[in-house]
């Protein structure tokens, strides 16, 4: 029994196919405006799709000529802000779901107390939402969503509005309560995905760019977004003899340049592929280096960023890591003409589409 959705929303340029297995937690990631929140809105019934359908545990939520209103979907939505009902106490907030689905006042309260305890917030029961800190309010919101016993739990950046000191504690609690629960969590934070999700789905410009386990995704990213998460340089193109023929519009790499690297054995010539390598493998020169079998490209430095113990030199889509001493010696600054070089042995070339 699963959740599947295949739906489009024209005015937001959204066209998404998604599947969440029983007890599976999926992280939905992507840049701002990629359509992540719209996906949640469609699943929750707060947005109407222009086409497509969604099915939850064999029950159709929407489809051509079919529409189940939000309150009958068994899909709960937890957002970045806790949005606790201000006029109700914490306990009444958590009891809201059970009460709405017909439980008696007493049953609902007992149920609410259980879920408050589960969210490590039992002692807050009699408080008003206005008397809670951000972290406490989010705990209560989590308890409230779980108390409704949804078949699918949607979480829209649940930790993004919390203080950095509080987020890890709530993340741990979420990890415990999400275990074995069908959930879709929108997040920007790779930590959320690593901690909470069984699988990551990356959305780019309203479409699923790639999906996989966090491990697969970080080891072999196929989308620019995932490469960013993994901290890798990524060049797309087609498999060519010795590596990859770079596609156009990936400055500073000229279109058609061959990026030499280790080709995955399953890769066929001409097949869409990507080349990935770590910024640490990139050497920076002020003169074109000669000799060894390297990939070399002329570039103009866009910016320098400090990172832990070194500097990141950015030029177009590429990043290189240098020591501060090397940066000083090479006189690196924005606008400086340099050459980026990376050994073929450091470059992995693999299919742009996942095997699945």
């Amino acid at each position: 029994m699963t959740f599947t959705m295949d739906a489009g929303l024209a005015d937001r340029g959204l066209d998404v196919g998604l599947r969440i297995g029983d007890g599976e937690t999926v992280a939905l990631m992507g840049a701002n405006g990629a359509g992540k929140s719209s996906v949640l809105g469609l699943a929750a019934g707060l947005l109407r799709a222009d086409r497509g359908e969604a099915v939850l545990q064999g029950r159709r939520l929407f489809g051509p000529g079919h529409w189940v209103p939000p309150h009958r979907r068994s899909v709960a939505l937890l957002s970045q802000e806790a949005l606790l009902f201000p006029q109700l106490t914490v306990l009444e907030n958590v009891a809201f779901g059970p009460r709405s689905s017909g439980a008696s006042r007493r049953e609902a309260r007992d149920h609410a107390r259980r879920w408050l305890a589960e969210a490590e917030a039992a002692e807050l029961a009699e408080r008003r939402p206005s008397a809670l800190s951000g972290g406490q309010a989010q705990r209560v919101a989590i308890a409230r969503a779980l108390a409704a016993e949804p078949s699918l739990l949607l979480l829209d950046e649940p930790l993004a509005a919390l203080d950095v000191a509080v987020a890890p504690v709530i993340r741990r609690m979420l990890r415990r309560v999400l275990d074995g629960r069908r959930a879709l969590i929108v997040t920007h934070d790779i930590l959320d995905a690593l901690h909470l999700a069984d699988r990551i789905v990356v959305l780019e410009a309203g479409r699923v760019a790639e999906e996989g386990t966090p491990r697969q995704l970080l080891a072999r990213p196929r989308s620019g977004f995932a490469a960013g998460l993994a901290g890798l340089n990524l060049i797309s193109g087609r498999a060519a003899v010795g590596g990859l023929g770079a596609a156009a519009q990936q400055p500073p790499i000229p279109a058609g340049t061959t990026v030499f690297g280790n080709r995955a054995p399953e890769l066929l010539d001409g097949e869409p592929a990507v080349a990935a390598f770590s910024p640490a493998a990139v050497s920076v020169f002020t003169e074109r280096p000669h000799g060894s079998p390297r990939n070399v490209v002329a570039a103009v430095v866009d910016e320098l960023e400090p990172a832990a113990g070194h500097l990141v030199v950015r030029a177009g889509r590429l990043a290189a890591e240098v020591t501060p001493a090397a940066a000083a010696e090479l006189d690196l600054h924005p606008g400086r003409r340099v050459f980026f070089a990376v050994k073929a042995s450091e470059v992995a070339v693999y299919p742009a589409r996942s095997a699945a």
Binding site: H71, V75, S79, E81, Q87, L88, F96, G97, S100
Partner: protein, 285 residues
């Protein structure tokens, strides 16, 4: 009132950090001069009434049988029309703020017309609707009901002019509040009726209350539409403002005393409506 609602809905964290105690910005001197002139224009006439009132005979003047009858009628009719405004105006505000259909903007504009319409014209409009030869009047005539120049007409006239105040106030609050709480409630399994009762209306209460008070005040002060549509029959349609107008011709002292009475009521109403909000904000600080 809407500001208070917004304040209430900001997460606690933001509210604590938020700048409630913002520093007073410097204003150019001429702004203060203009503001003072404006304030005088409003306060001086109020003062004039208070000064000219015959305080010695005040109790006798405001308890004359004519005055008491007018006051009683005013309070009763204003209460009934306020009730109608709440019962019909709140759903109207909900529809205007939440529903989406063609012609909604036009409907809103039409509903708010009584705000800018001279009340006399409103009275004429009502007369041509419910009057003996009006749009619906003949139908009522057949049923043996005559509305124009009755106490019912007073209530109708007051409702007509006061309703937009309630609709405006509640609709603004609904828009400020947004639909996020309602969305959460729905995904928790609450049917639309439950969402309305347990989420929307409680969030609206402050603005509903101030809208109701404003509505009542407008109904209490209604003059033009009442005179045109309901006339001025002692004990039946002669409300306090009409009584004051009549007395002004014959017994200016009594008119002054009654004016003072209405003015005091108005001050209390304003204090209730706007003072409450301010106190609430400070109380939470």
């Amino acid at each position: 009132m809407t500001r208070e609602l917004a304040e209430e809905q900001r997460p606690a964290r933001l509210r604590r950090a938020g700048g409630r105690r913002s520093i007073a910005l410097g204003l150019p001197g001429w702004v203060f001069a203009c503001a003072a002139a404006g304030a005088l224009l409003i306060v001086l006439p109020l003062l004039a009434v208070a000064l000219r009132t015959n305080w010695a005979d005040f109790p006798a003047l405001v308890t004359s049988s004519g005055a008491l009858a007018a006051l009683g009628l005013s309070l009763r009719t204003a209460a009934v029309s306020t009730l109608i405004c709440v019962l019909l105006g709140t759903p109207m505000a909900l529809v205007l703020a939440r529903a989406r259909f063609r012609g909604l903007k036009l409907l809103r504009a039409l509903v708010l017309v009584p705000l800018v319409l001279p009340p006399v014209v409103g009275g004429m409009a009502l007369l041509y609707t419910f009057g003996r030869r009006g749009l619906l009047g003949e139908a009522f005539e057949v049923l043996g009901v005559q509305i124009a120049f009755s106490t019912t007409a007073v209530v109708l006239a007051q409702t007509f002019v006061a309703m937009p105040f309630l609709v405006l106030s509640v609709e603004a609050a609904l828009r400020t509040a947004g639909t996020r709480f309602e969305g959460v409630a729905a995904t928790l399994g609450a049917a639309p009726g439950i969402v309305l009762r347990r989420v929307t209306v409680p969030l609206l209460l402050p603005s509903l209350l101030s809208g109701t008070i404003l509505c009542f005040a407008r109904a209490l002060g209604e003059f033009g539409a009442t005179l045109t549509f309901a006339g001025s029959l002692a004990g039946v349609t002669r409300t306090l403002p009409l009584e004051i107008y009549l007395q002004h011709e014959t017994d200016p002292e009594a008119a002054m005393a009654l004016s003072m009475l209405l003015m005091a009521t108005a001050v209390v109403i304003v204090a209730l409506t706007y003072g409450r909000g301010t106190r609430g904000r400070d109380g939470r600080a």
